[in-house]
Amino acid sequence: MSQFSGTYALIRKDIHSELRTRYALNALLMFVVTAVATILFALRSDQPTSSVLSGLYWVVVFFTAMSGLSRTFVSEEERGTTMTLQLVASPSTVYFAKLLFNTVLTFSMTIAVTILYMTVFSNAFVIKTFSIFAGTVVLGSLGFASASTIIAAIVAKANTRGTLYPVLSFPILIVLLMTVMNATTKALDGEEFTSALPDFQILVGYFLAMTGGSYLLFEYVWKD
């Protein structure tokens, strides 16, 4: 009970704080717009295939997630509030609050990227099997948020913050990236929902394994 209300209060604090400082939001927004614009100019005259498009879609999501979500713990560390949080909340409260907050951020971001893609690539980026696409976006966001949260926690304690984040996240996220790209291609090609079931299994497994592992690891990372 107290675990739940504490987690909820911490998420509210993070959302409130984000709305006031725009720490992550500005970084996310700038990145999405710049990346999509660049891709648009590069592809202007070509007619990209669905696998190229789904690859480019997740590249944008991947790097945006990296630039925005990496700030989760660094921002507490930089402001010296890490210890304040350690004093008032248990590690699991902090972990689940940050995970949920990052999930909300990632999910909003994928929706924004989707809308942008559908507008600028209106004749190529057509979602033919909506159920596959929706499932991929939801499970993919969960996976991204889960992996980013634990990586962000590790990176916040390291001295070489800037470079460490992409270096650490690439091997951890490669499985996830390949799977979501694969599933998105199927959604763009209009394949049957059942054809994406193996991908969904991987995504669910990935999320559960990543979250379970992170939960166990988090206490040691968080408390030095």
Binding site: A9, H16, Q86
Partner: protein, 204 residues
């Protein structure tokens, strides 16, 4: 609260060795020692923010041993390492931190009471970003005593405080000595004199 044979090492460098403390209701302890002797480190170990390399720290409330997960309801800390949120106002900070801790029975009346004690009630709605360093220190006191902790730890208690502020700290200290346990980490002989016992670190 008892600490037995607590030793802390950072990368194999021993900061202090075999420190033992035992404090019960109404007792107070000053931790003194030169800069870098490990006062703040010992404070963090006692507050459960750092783990000891060897030895252990145990707590009991009303004779019952206290689980480490419940320690946060019974501990208050003022420390230069502990910051509050810049983008929230003074009263918002107290409110949200109390909610994150899931305190019971902390209402707006209690928040008003502690803000008045530290002299920040007039400025409660201003962002902490706009506070002076002394005001931030005062707000840390409000945060530390908000939930009436049984163990109050003050690290560098009067840094940045004016005359009024020091008087406020003395009031908080006297109050705490009546109803709980007090630990003060300081270099100042006056401040050390507030406490009934003293240990000096760094004399090995």
């Amino acid at each position: 609260m008892t600490a037995t044979g607590v030793t802390k090492e950072f990368n194999r460098r021993t900061i202090f060795r075999d420190v033992s403390i035992s404090l019960s209701q109404g007792e107070s302890l000053a931790i003194t020692g030169r800069n870098g002797s490990g006062k703040s480190t010992l404070v963090k170990v006692v507050a459960g923010l750092l783990s000891a390399t060897r030895g252990k720290v145990e707590y009991a409330v009303d004779g019952k041993p206290l689980e480490i997960e419940n320690l946060r309801y019974h501990i208050g800390l003022v420390s230069p390492y502990l910051q509050l949120y810049d983008e929230f106002s003074g009263s918002e900070n107290l409110e949200l931190l109390s909610k994150i801790r899931s305190d019971v029975g902390i209402d707006s009346g209690r928040i008003q009471q502690v803000l008045e004690t530290v002299g920040l009630w007039e400025r409660r709605s201003d962002y902490v970003r706009t506070y002076s360093s002394g005001m931030k220190q005062r707000l840390k006191y409000a945060f530390a005593v908000l939930h009436r902790p049984s163990l109050l730890i003050l690290d560098e208690p009067t840094s940045n405080l004016d005359h009024d502020g020091i008087a406020m700290v003395k009031k908080v200290v006297d109050e705490q000595k009546k109803q709980g346990v007090l630990i003060v980490a300081t270099n100042d002989a006056d401040e050390a004199g507030w406490c009934s016992a003293n240990i000096e670190l760094g004399k090995h």
